[in-house]
């Protein structure tokens, strides 16, 4: 090549054109999209359009194009109806790109005389400079896609059970949705991390363009598709059934989209971890995970693990800022007074020694970086502490609520699509044979109104139960207050009265053990309204505490139950049916709703009262409540499907629990933001460290520390802060939780129905809080650490 004729050319931008062009092209694209949507062509070609939009373009779209040509009639008329919009869109789109092209010009640079170096060998690294690695793009993009597919497929496979045929369906490898999701998520994270690691170690640099393109172009289609799943009937039809397990897990938090995008974010984050780890580990040309030297240097740079610092911060986290500050001020004042007296005494005899002591006192003052380090550790600690406390309290509420709901309701509810469920004993036998089922009990459900002698109660739900077996399925037996008994439903003649008064209170206290033995005459004297002397023994009923309070009813009182639809058909429709019952006990579940709206009578009484032959359904208790959904399916399978159906507790209370989980998730995100703010402190601290250590970095480089080593040193410094803060937060958070648990924080029972703030420390959740904090600090340190590695050795070595 003739070097003399090479005129240097430069690219000149007219930004006005470029920006206008971009906006016009965008508007054109929007119009085009509108036209296509209106023409109904999108529905037919949604998949192809999505692929084209994400740039997986030519080959796929050409193939699909052929398919579209073979089927011309359907699209043509539709497109023609939107022709003006379509044409405008295309025109605008083309115009936009033309403007952009106009905005970028190549101009000849002003000629300058050639330098003396013309023709000399180019500095080798510059000659071999590559700015885009296709292999790395493939690793990042493919890895992202693979991670998503791994997650979805592994989750579906684990829930469905690995293996084929009926025998394997109950195999060992079958997991509940939550644990399957956890396993699949970990696998997805691992794949994303590995792909990032491989990609970065191939390129031996971070390759930000490849990462951006890879993660966005290859990673986005699946979450976008999943988000669109519920709104597009076509997608729903095509993938809905296959993806049912995925949508179920995402639906557990109430808003599936949030779940998809959080998972996507998580995968992208793990890919970033993988990329940075790959770069750091292999930038020296080989995998080098040893960090002994780097830690040695980092510990000297930022001394975080000093007992005094950690102890001080822990005290601050446990007691708040003010008390430790007062103590510190007192100690310092005393210390300074003693020291000054000592130095003055010293100065009387030896002035030079005194000045030396003064100097030592001054050098003990902390440097700003040390102060920043302490602040960052404290910041991370506060974040982790808040995360742990709030999540533990929310878990406490959730567990409390779950206990109350599951105490009153069964785990699975089996019913039939027809009215007469008379074959329930056989069905119960079959259900009990299903793996994972612990107990079953039949019940009859009916809606009634109750009235007492004094008051009229509202409507409530009467559940006819089998006193012999109901205790195995729900907590009803445990929830009966002293004075009443579940067994009295079957033996109403044993019901004893309970009234306030000396006798009543003693009856209330003793009746649990000897109530059944109490002679009925005793009560009749105290309570004339109770027709104990009536010739007929009334059947028993158990009321909730709220309803009994509303009706002023106590054990032994008589109550009228009215069933609006239970009676015979009269000339004007069904005639309400009324029957007296005697209160056999009061139930307290802890849920206001349940204690107001539920009453229990004996199963056969209920059948008689509601005039039915069979039962409404069968309550089932399972060993593992998280597995209830799968067992419900298994029960239906065992009963050979229609007309039987089964619903698990999660599905019955889906809204409540998904709201709780969503709340917890959002709180987790908000509190993670606190940790991220603390991470901002870490960034600032590490940047300060880098600025302070510029000269040292240069020297280390001159001594032969590679860039990767410098990155490791400063990452280690950031991570030290994160680990110290995380551990402090863990200690103080758990300490606070234990404090709340032991001492208790009173709640207004009128509002909360819980006497004290519930706390439940979940080890996994707590560990995840700490891990998140450490990962966030790792990410926060990456940027300053990279900046540190970019310090030119010559910069720091310039002699002043």
């Amino acid at each position: 090549m003739n070097r003399a004729v090479i005129a240097e050319r430069q690219t000149a931008y007219r930004w006005g054109y470029v920006w206008t062009g971009g906006l016009v092209a965008l508007a054109g694209g929007a119009l085009l999209a509108t036209a296509l949507i209106r023409a109904g062509a999108v529905r037919a070609a949604a998949g192809e359009l999505a692929l084209i939009a994400f740039g997986w373009g030519p080959l796929v779209s050409v193939l699909k194009g052929f398919a579209a040509v073979l089927d011309p009639l359907r699209n043509r008329s539709a497109i023609f109806s939107q022709l003006p919009l379509f044409a405008t869109g295309v025109a605008l789109w083309a115009l936009g790109w033309a403007l952009i092209a106009l905005g970028i010009r190549r101009t000849t640079a002003s000629p300058s005389p050639p330098s003396e170096a013309r023709g000399a060998a180019l500095y080798p690294p510059l000659a071999r400079y590559t700015d885009f690695y296709w292999g790395t793009l493939l690793a990042y993009g493919g890895g992202m896609l693979l991670a998503e597919l791994t997650l979805i497929l592994l989750h579906t496979a684990l829930v469905a059970g690995v293996g084929r045929g009926g025998a394997a369906r109950d195999g060992l490898l079958r997991a509940s949705p939550i644990s399957a999701f956890a396993i699949a998520l970990l696998a997805g994270f691992a794949v994303a991390f590995a792909a990032g690691f491989i990609g970065a170690s191939r390129a031996r640099r971070l390759s930000v363009p490849e990462a951006t393109v890879g993660i966005f172009y290859f990673g986005l289609p699946i979450p976008i598709g999943l988000t669109a799943l519920s709104s597009s009937s076509l997608l729903e039809l095509r993938f809905g059934y296959r993806l049912r397990e995925v949508t179920y897990v995402a639906g557990l938090i109430g808003r599936p989209e949030l779940g998809y995008w959080l998972v996507f974010l998580g995968l992208a984050l793990w890919m970033v971890f993988g990329i940075t780890a790959g770069f750091i580990a292999t930038s020296s040309g080989r995998v080098d995970l040893r960090t002994g030297f780097e830690l040695f240097v980092a510990r000297r740079h930022a001394a975080v693990f000093k007992p005094r610092l950690l102890l001080g911060l822990l005290v601050v986290l446990l007691l708040g800022i003010v008390p430790p500050l007062i103590i510190y001020a007192m100690v310092r004042a005393a210390d300074a007074a003693v020291e000054r007296t000592r130095i003055r005494a010293l100065g009387m005899s030896d002035p030079l020694k005194a000045s030396e002591a003064l100097d030592r006192l001054r050098t003990e003052e902390h440097s700003p970086t040390a102060m920043m380090t302490a602040l960052s550790v404290g910041g991370v600690g506060v974040g982790v502490m808040a995360l742990i406390i709030v999540l533990s309290v929310m878990s406490g509420f959730e567990v409390d609520l779950q206990q109350k709901i599951l105490g009153t309701n069964a785990h699975i509810f089996v019913s039939k699509y027809s009215d007469s469920f008379t074959e329930y004993p056989e069905v119960m036998q079959k259900i009990r044979a299903v793996k994972g089922v612990v107990a079953t009990t039949p019940f009859v459900l009916g809606e009634v109104m109750v009235t007492s002698d004094r008051d009229t109660g509202g409507g409530l739900v009467v559940k006819g139960i089998d006193p012999a077996t109901v205790g195995e399925v729900t907590d009803l037996r445990k929830n009966i207050l002293p004075g009443g008994s579940l067994d009295n439903l079957a033996h109403p003649e044993n019901i004893s009265a309970m009234r306030f008064g000396a006798e009543g209170v003693s009856a209330r206290l003793t009746s649990r053990t000897e109530g059944r033995q109490r002679p009925p005459e005793d009560v009749a004297i105290i309570e004339p309204s109770a027709p104990r002397n009536a010739e007929r023994v009334l059947p028993g009923i158990i009321l909730g505490t709220e309803m009994s309070a509303k009706l002023h009813l106590f054990v032994g009182d008589r109550v009228n139950v009215v069933a609006p639809l239970g009676g015979e058909l009269g000339p004007q429709g069904p005639v309400p049916k009324s029957r007296p019952f005697r209160v056999a006990g009061l139930a307290y579940s802890g849920m206001y709703e349940y204690d107001l709206k539920f009453a229990y009578i004996e199963l056969h009484e209920a059948q008689k009262f509601f005039n039915v032959e069979g039962v409404t359904g069968i309550d089932v208790k399972v060993a593992d409540i998280d597995d209830a959904r799968r067992i419900a399916t298994a029960i239906v399978d065992t009963l050979e499907g229609y007309p039987y159906k089964a619903k698990d507790w999660g599905a019955m209370n889906q809204n409540l629990f998904s709201a709780l989980r969503l709340e917890k998730l959002v709180m987790g995100i908000i509190l993670t933001i606190i940790v991220i703010v603390a991470a901002g402190l870490i960034i600032a601290t590490v940047i300060m460290l880098v600025l302070e250590k510029r000269k040292e970095i240069s020297v280390l480089k001159a001594l032969g520390v590679p860039d990767g080593g410098i990155v490791k040193i400063f990452l280690a410094e950031g991570l030290q802060i994160g680990c110290a803060g995380g551990l402090l937060g863990l200690f103080s958070g758990v300490a606070w939780c234990l404090f709340i648990e032991r001492v208790g924080i009173k709640l207004d029972p009128q509002v909360y129905y819980i006497p004290a703030l519930p706390v439940r420390i979940e080890p996994l959740q707590t560990a995840i809080s700490v891990v998140i904090a450490i990962l966030v600090t790792y990410l926060a340190s990456v940027y300053p650490a990279l900046k540190a590695s970019q310090v030119e050795p010559v910069e720091g070595l310039k002699s002043e």
């Binding site: 170096a117 080798p124 071999r128 020296s284 040309g285 002994g292 000297r300 001159a702 032969g704 002699s799």
Partner: protein, 224 residues
Amino acid sequence: MALLEVRDVFKSYFLHGKRIDVLRGVSLDIEEGELVSLVGASGAGKSTLLHVLGTLDAPAAGRILFRGVSILERGEAAIADFRNRTIGFVFQNHYLLPEFTALENVAMPALIQRQDRAKALGYARDLLDRVELAARVDHRPGELSGGEAQRVALARALMLRPALLLADEPTGNLDPQTGEGIHQLLREVNRDLGIAAIVVTHNEALAQSMPRRLRLFGGQVQPT
């Protein structure tokens, strides 16, 4: 084969967007075990040349062969490793790491190589003994005098027995008497260990005492 073969090396600075050509086609050969002095006016590019020879700075163009191999064509980590093993630096300022003791500073090149800590510190102790600083082993750089610090820096440069010692005005900040001690040490190192050295200096007497003398003038190296 020469230890160092430098051909047509160019290097420029950019000051406020203006290019200042410092090295304009430097070519020179350094043999194994040679002791060379390099003189030149302030700003002539002596330090830049040393940095380029020590792979601390990249030339814009040219070839540098160490024992016939073009190190610069390898990756960044390989260059760092080469620098660690083959080149020893002594600067005008001692540039010791302030957080580490004299002993740890001397052992640093071996620690970077991840050599056994105890062994490295043992050898560093011997080296400090040799530069007559056995009593200062556990002192931080801030507690050393200028001459002591410079001797520690020299010991650090010798820690891994480099093939080439690059000294950039090592006595520039020292009084003549202390400086002479350093010069003496440099000569001993060259004679006893056979380490080639390029010493940049403004000290005419020292320059004249070296077996080979070079001058950097007009961006090129000439013998004097």
